[in-house]
């Protein structure tokens, strides 16, 4: 209990000295949101795993990079994660980030839903389309959608996380949504157009 109440800089100090409990307390608190962000941005569980690992390795190896007077540990970790994700996206061609999301069997779980198998399949297909459409967005629009729509951050929180004004986030989100709608319309209309053409 005590370890949870402890301030993060104090925990970090202990972690750097080799206190495993202190490190795990920090890791458990921050890893999941960072992993989800990385996963939603890259679409690759492997890349997300790598990113999170690098972020925490940096924390172990260069803890002095986090300066408590400049912000909270969560914000620092998110900033590092974001940089790593952006580097990953720059490095890879767009197509390669669309690797199988559920290749480790853990990345994709349908929520329990009392629907018929047919309806479930349709729903699953729709979600897959949305996921692909998000991954198809330019990185900055994708980030706005991920943070504001999937992570449910407020505009202020998203702006802080990205280090830009609220207006920029709103504008990116607006364009991201418009692109997303257009892409999905295209995806969903294609089979209809195909079946209409066949007739």
């Amino acid at each position: 209990m005590k370890i949870i109440d402890e301030k993060e800089p104090a925990l970090l100090k202990r972690a750097v000295r080799g206190d495993e409990q202190a490190f795990l307390a920090l890791y458990q608190k921050h890893q999941a949101p960072l992993y989800r962000y990385a996963l939603r941005m890259t679409g690759s569980p492997w890349a997300a795993e790598e990113v999170v690992q690098e972020v925490f390795l940096l924390l172990i190896r260069e803890p002095q990079k986090f300066q408590p007077d400049r912000g909270e540990l969560g914000a620092f970790l998110f900033g590092v994660t974001r940089n790593r994700v952006m580097k990953h996206l720059e490095r890879l061609p767009r197509e390669s980030s669309l690797d199988e999301i559920n290749d480790n069997g853990t990345a994709w779980r349908e929520p329990e839903d009392p629907l018929t198998p047919m309806m479930l399949a349709e729903k699953s297909e729709r979600i897959e389309q949305v996921r692909e459409a998000i991954l198809g967005l330019p990185a900055e629009f994708r980030e706005a959608v991920v943070l504001c729509e999937l992570e449910e951050m407020s505009y202020e929180e998203a702006a802080r996380a990205c280090g830009c004004p609220v207006g920029t986030i709103r504008s990116r989100l607006h364009r991201g949504r418009a692109l997303l709608l257009a892409k999905l319309e295209l995806l969903r209309d294609a089979p209809r157009r195909a079946s209409a053409g066949a007739r």
Partner: protein, 229 residues
């Protein structure tokens, strides 16, 4: 009245910018209300809003599907391993740091103790157990006692045994170096030519454990005079 006119004034471009934020908590209620009223009167914007709500629902499902995603356990294992490796590496480093400080300190201490003991064993005969040599050195040479230097222990090469002294195999002798007049050597029973009695020579005295001189030798440059045979 003013608010009503604002509502009527909302255009489709404005709705595209603001209308999709209607359901968000960080949008002003008046703004949301104006957008809703516009959507009710504009079929195009209403269709856009419907499409967005549909997508929003899909996003919600996607969000729920990935809500409990977290880093695979193997990452935690790797990080713990890294932490342990660093902790283990830190212990020898600390030891090395301690050793690197302690070893020279111990060496310095040993040298200091050795020097002190050596100095004590050398200076003690001069002042207490070796009054004869000290007196000779002082009286014969008029040099201060400090000028009598110890050259080396155990260096007994080319020493001439003084009359009355016995050769010894002891390793406790010390060598005292002094600059004296040749005449002073006569006090040790050594023959000195009278005309050379006032010459200055550098001599080494081999001093026994009891502080008595056992042997003497002239330095190379002094030996050319061949005083002692």
């Amino acid at each position: 009245m003013v608010e009503g006119s604002k509502k009527l004034m909302m255009k489709c471009e404005e709705f595209e910018l603001l209308g999709l934020d209607m359901d968000r908590s960080d949008v002003q209620p008046e703004e949301a209300e104006t957008a809703a009223e516009h959507a009710a009167t504009c079929p195009r914007c209403f269709a856009l809003l419907e499409s967005w709500r549909e997508l929003k629902e899909d996003l919600r499902v996607l969000r729920e599907a990935t809500r409990f995603e977290s880093t695979p356990a193997r990452v935690e294992m790797r990080l713990k391993q890294e932490l342990r490796t660093r902790r283990e590496a830190r212990v020898p480093r600390r030891t090395v740091r301690l050793v690197s400080w302690a070893l020279p300190a111990a060496a310095a201490l040993a040298i200091a103790i050795g020097w002190a003991q050596w100095h004590k064993s050398v200076s003690a005969p001069l002042t207490t157990t070796q009054p004869q040599i000290a007196a000779i050195a002082k009286g014969a040479t008029n040099l201060p006692a400090e000028s009598i230097l110890l050259a080396a222990d155990y260096d007994t090469g080319d020493f001439t045994q003084l009359p009355g002294s016995m050769p010894t195999a002891s390793s406790e002798e010390a060598i005292l170096q002094a600059r004296v007049q040749r005449g002073a050597l006569m006090q040790f029973g050594l023959p000195v030519a009278p005309e050379q009695a006032t010459d200055w020579v550098d001599v080494d005295f081999l001093v026994g454990e009891d502080g008595q001189p056992l042997a003497v030798r002239l330095h190379q440059d002094s030996q050319t005079e061949a005083v002692m045979q």
